[in-house]
């Protein structure tokens, strides 16, 4: 019996040779993988296999810019060898601006997954790839999460190339370096590290590159994958990476000496190092009058104390330190409390939970319904709770004040961290009164003062810089005044802005 000889299975490793069989084996079962034979110059003898992934490439571009010139007998006439064809293709015989020669399977599959089409010369075990990416992408729009009052309205989108273009347009500097990284072991995601060479601190750039390349994950589909992998202390609830969808804020921080990170598929830019004072600032501070901007910054710091301490302070005073309450207020508080069946601690915890539930419901529901639920819910629940004597009006006022103060935080992550700490503060106040609040505050300050972001103290300039640059965090100077950069960033120009 003559046994039919089975063909050897193709080598599918990334270093494997580029053959049609190997590529088709790699994409076996992928319904969006397309391939077809192409006669170069219409010559029957010289054929190549054109492969691409439908949807990632633009069909019209493939037809117009690749297939049309390839099949044109005037370009590829006579009896030319495959090596000559490859040389001609790399030399510009087709109308595509990026053409690469690939002889390793890994490189080829990478190109195909990044919106290239490949022309495989099976005998030569070589492929030429052309960039013909599909233009189906979200256009640049105004930021939705970070409101712009007076400033640029071009927010980052999911396509990294567009995002890098937005940055390039704002920072027209040849020293603006954009280094590419590939993240994710399974979902290969492109990311870029952006900095101004010779200006941004080299140590921070090197450390950011090290941390970025060290990310071990299946794929980068959410921002937490980046943030938690590149921060110094991932256990801290306080944000240590500035994330923004505003390209102007991103560029402003690049010009301050920070390192930016853009990830394909995420409409966000990340900036390191992140310090507490940076989370208190908004780009509008640089758009409005400097006195108004300074007053608003101070207001935001006041809001931090209010959102963090108002409920805890109320609990401590109402339960343990009644002597601190002015007489008239005390009388009305006693009156209001007399019909409430729950102790102060339960009352406050209930209201805090109700507030969080309303907020969560408002976020999860579709936009128009969500907003209605938050506003109407807060009004109705608050009013009804007071009328039903479930809570006293003072508690509603205190919780609402703390909640509203929390909404003034420019950064949502910072707001969430403060919300979490607010609960802990209330628990400390319930347990030990004002002493508990003081102890919990001391622990919080200890934690914050111990944090570092890429060698920069998190609480700088409040801690770690002897308070010399305190005014820089609290006030904005006029643009006509020569400004100092954050000295902790140790920029190449010695921290002095050359205006």
């Amino acid at each position: 019996m003559i046994r039919k000889k089975q063909p050897a299975p193709p080598d599918m490793s990334s270093d494997g040779a580029v053959t049609v069989a190997a590529v088709e084996a790699v994409f076996d079962g992928c319904y969006d993988f397309e391939s077809r034979d192409l006669r170069i110059g219409g010559d029957q003898a010289q054929t190549a296999r054109l492969c691409f992934i439908d949807g990632l490439v633009s069909g019209s571009d493939v037809a117009e810019q690749v297939i049309k010139p390839l099949t044109d007998p005037r370009r590829f006439s006579g009896n030319i060898s495959a090596a000559d064809v490859i040389a001609m293709l790399l030399g510009g015989s087709v109308y595509v601006y990026t053409a690469k020669s690939r002889d390793k399977l890994g490189e080829l599959t990478g190109d195909l997954l990044n919106g290239f089409c490949a022309l495989i010369f099976d005998k030569e075990r070589t492929a030429v790839t052309f960039e013909v990416k599909s233009q189906q992408r979200r256009s640049v729009e105004a930021p939705k999460e970070e409101k712009v009052i007076k400033g640029a309205k071009d927010a980052f989108v999911e396509t990294m190339k567009i995002n890098t273009t937005l940055v390039r347009r704002k920072v027209r500097n040849a020293h603006l370096k954009i280094k590419e990284f590939n993240l994710g072991m399974r979902a290969d995601t492109a990311a870029t590290l952006i900095y101004i060479d010779g200006f941004t601190n080299e140590g921070i750039v090197a450390e950011a590159a090290r941390r970025l390349s060290g990310i071990k994950t299946e794929g980068v589909l959410t921002s937490a994958v980046i943030e938690e992998n590149i921060v110094d202390n991932y256990r801290s609830p306080f944000p240590q990476v500035i994330s923004t969808e505003r390209s102007d804020k991103f560029c402003m921080n690049l010009l301050e000496g920070r390192v930016g990170i853009l990830v394909d598929g995420l409409p966000l830019g990340f900036l390191v190092p992140g310090t507490f004072s940076q989370f208190m600032k908004v780009p509008e501070d640089h758009s409005g009058h400097f006195i108004v901007a300074s007053a608003l910054t101070l207001l935001r710091y006041l809001a931090v104390f209010l959102t963090l301490l108002a409920p805890a302070f109320y609990v401590a005073v109402a339960m343990y330190h009644q002597e601190m309450i002015p007489t008239r207020l005390m009388q009305s508080m006693i009156e209001a409390r007399s019909s409430v069946p729950f102790p102060t601690a339960v009352e406050v915890i209930l209201m805090l939970l109700a507030f969080e539930l309303l907020q969560e419901a408002g976020i999860r529901l579709p936009s128009p319904i969500g907003e209605t639920v938050s506003i109407i819910g807060a009004l109705i629940v608050g009013q009804s709770a007071v009328e039903a004597s479930v809570v006293s009006p003072v508690v509603v006022v205190v919780i609402a004040l703390a909640g509203i103060a929390g909404y003034t935080m420019p950064n949502q992550d910072m707001g969430s961290a403060l919300r979490l700490c607010r609960f802990l503060m209330v628990l400390a106040a319930i347990a030990l009164g004002m002493f508990g609040v003081a102890t919990a505050s001391a622990i919080l300050v200890y934690h914050l003062a111990g944090l570092e972001s890429y060698g920069v103290p998190y609480m700088s300039p409040f801690a770690g810089s002897e308070g010399r640059h305190l005014s820089r965090a609290l006030f904005r100077r006029s643009m006509t005044v020569k400004r100092d950069r954050e000295p902790e960033l140790k920029t190449g120009d010695g921290g002095e802005a050359k205006l």
Binding site: Y320, Q322, T327, M330, S332, R337, T344, G433
Partner: protein, 401 residues
């Protein structure tokens, strides 16, 4: 691990130094709805001890209630009132006034002041008042009506008499520090008077100032007249505003004091001995009423008024100094004034202040200025023209021109 160890090490001194190690903070734990807010306390002499009464309220709209309890001491009498018969816990942290009966004040104030000073809830800025011609408990009960609380009436009187220059509510801190430094102190006295009710919801009694009491070594020894009280306020710098009637022939000119400047200057001889004390006053007042036709704009009338004002005020100050000397107590704190003005010379003076003070010549002078006369008795621009409208006045004016 190292961080947590640091944290625990930091908490140990925090707990031990704050006094919270024994969880004493929980003794402060109270629910607001169980609190009886005490705003005024009265203390009277009773058989074998003290009768304490507290005036409490349990909210804005709740009726104010009075609870009283006799006891062998202030601490016991008040301590037994902390848990009221209604089961609420009385807290003394919002006590604004402590009224002490005249009889108790004469036997000794020290225990009352000690209680206010040392009890953890009571505040040092509580007003201490002595009730004359009646018991403190009756005054407290008589002041409150359906819509008025005795604490509010007391607080209102404090502001009123201070504004009118009739007295000054000394706090526990001021009295205690004066007793500690000088051995004597002044205390405001009040008196309950029965007057026609201005509105029904008011209490049976009205309150009026009754001058200052002089306490020496913790015991009230004497009371000052109205003139001496005025003089004491001037010398202690407590007189800031007030109305005064100046006699001018058959008429009276009422002035409102606008500004009072006091300068106490000690005079020393070459040997460093204190030879005299020059007290100079500068008064500035405005005329607010004339009892009849007075040519107040006339410079001689004005000068007469100013001289009268100086005479009254310097007379009051002289009376206060004389009273102080007569009682042998420097309740005007002239010693402190001399020490503040010339600290080194005072230190080197050598002699005992008590001996110096009794024989020291005190020269009191004053100058007065009537800043504004408000010639209201005969306003020239309005006389005979009241019946004309502004339009008619304007027409007349245009015709004249």
């Amino acid at each position: 691990m190292k961080k947590y160890l640091c944290l625990i090490l930091a908490l140990i001194p925090l707990l031990s130094l704050s006094g919270c190690a024994g969880l004493s903070i929980f003794s402060n734990y109270r629910q607001l709805e169980n609190i009886e807010l005490v705003r005024a306390v009265s203390l009277d002499l009773s058989d074998g001890g003290v009768n304490a009464a507290i005036y409490g309220t349990a909210g804005e709209e709740s009726p104010a209630r009075m609870y009283e309890n006799p006891g062998p001491s202030v601490g016991v009498a008040l301590g037994e009132l902390i848990l009221t018969p209604l089961g609420r816990e009385a807290i003394l942290s919002h006590t604004e006034s402590v009224l002490i009966g005249q009889d108790l004040a004469k036997t000794g104030l020290r225990e009352c002041l000690d209680y206010v000073e040392r009890f953890s809830e009571t505040r040092l800025d509580t007003d201490i008042l002595i009730v004359r011609d009646g018991s403190a408990r009756d005054l407290l009960a008589g002041l409150s009506g359906d819509e008025t609380s005795s604490a509010d009436v007391l607080s209102g009187l404090g502001k009123n008499i201070s504004r009118l220059g009739e007295g000054y509510f000394f706090t526990c801190r001021e009295i205690a520090s004066s007793l500690a430094e000088n051995g004597c102190a002044l205390i405001q006295c009040v008196r309950g008077v029965k007057e026609e009710k201005l509105f029904d919801a008011r209490g049976e009694l009205d309150l009026e100032s009754a001058g200052f009491a002089v306490a020496r070594d913790g015991v009230v020894t004497d009371f000052l007249s109205d003139e001496e009280t005025l003089g004491a306020m001037l010398l202690l710098g407590k007189y800031r505003s007030g109305n005064l009637d100046l006699p001018l022939g058959d008429q009276t000119v009422t002035v409102s004091m606008d500004l009072v400047g006091t300068d106490i200057a000690p005079r020393f001889d070459r040997d460093g001995a204190l030879t005299a004390l020059d007290i100079t006053f500068d008064f500035r007042a405005n005329v607010i009423n004339l009892s009849g036709p007075v040519e107040i704009t006339d410079s001689s009338v004005r000068r007469t008024c100013e001289e009268e004002l100086t005479k009254i005020m310097t007379g009051a100050a002289t009376a206060a100094v004389e009273k102080s000397r007569a009682l042998g107590t420097d309740f005007l704190d002239l010693e402190g004034a001399v020490e503040r003005r010339a600290p080194i010379k005072f230190r080197d003076m050598g002699a005992d202040w008590q001996d110096v003070f009794l024989t020291l010549p005190v020269r009191i002078k004053g100058t007065s200025v009537l800043a504004r006369t408000y010639d209201i008795a005969d306003p020239p621009e309005l006389s005979g023209k009241e019946d004309k409208s502004p339009w008619e006045k304007l027409t007349e004016l245009l015709k004249d021109s």
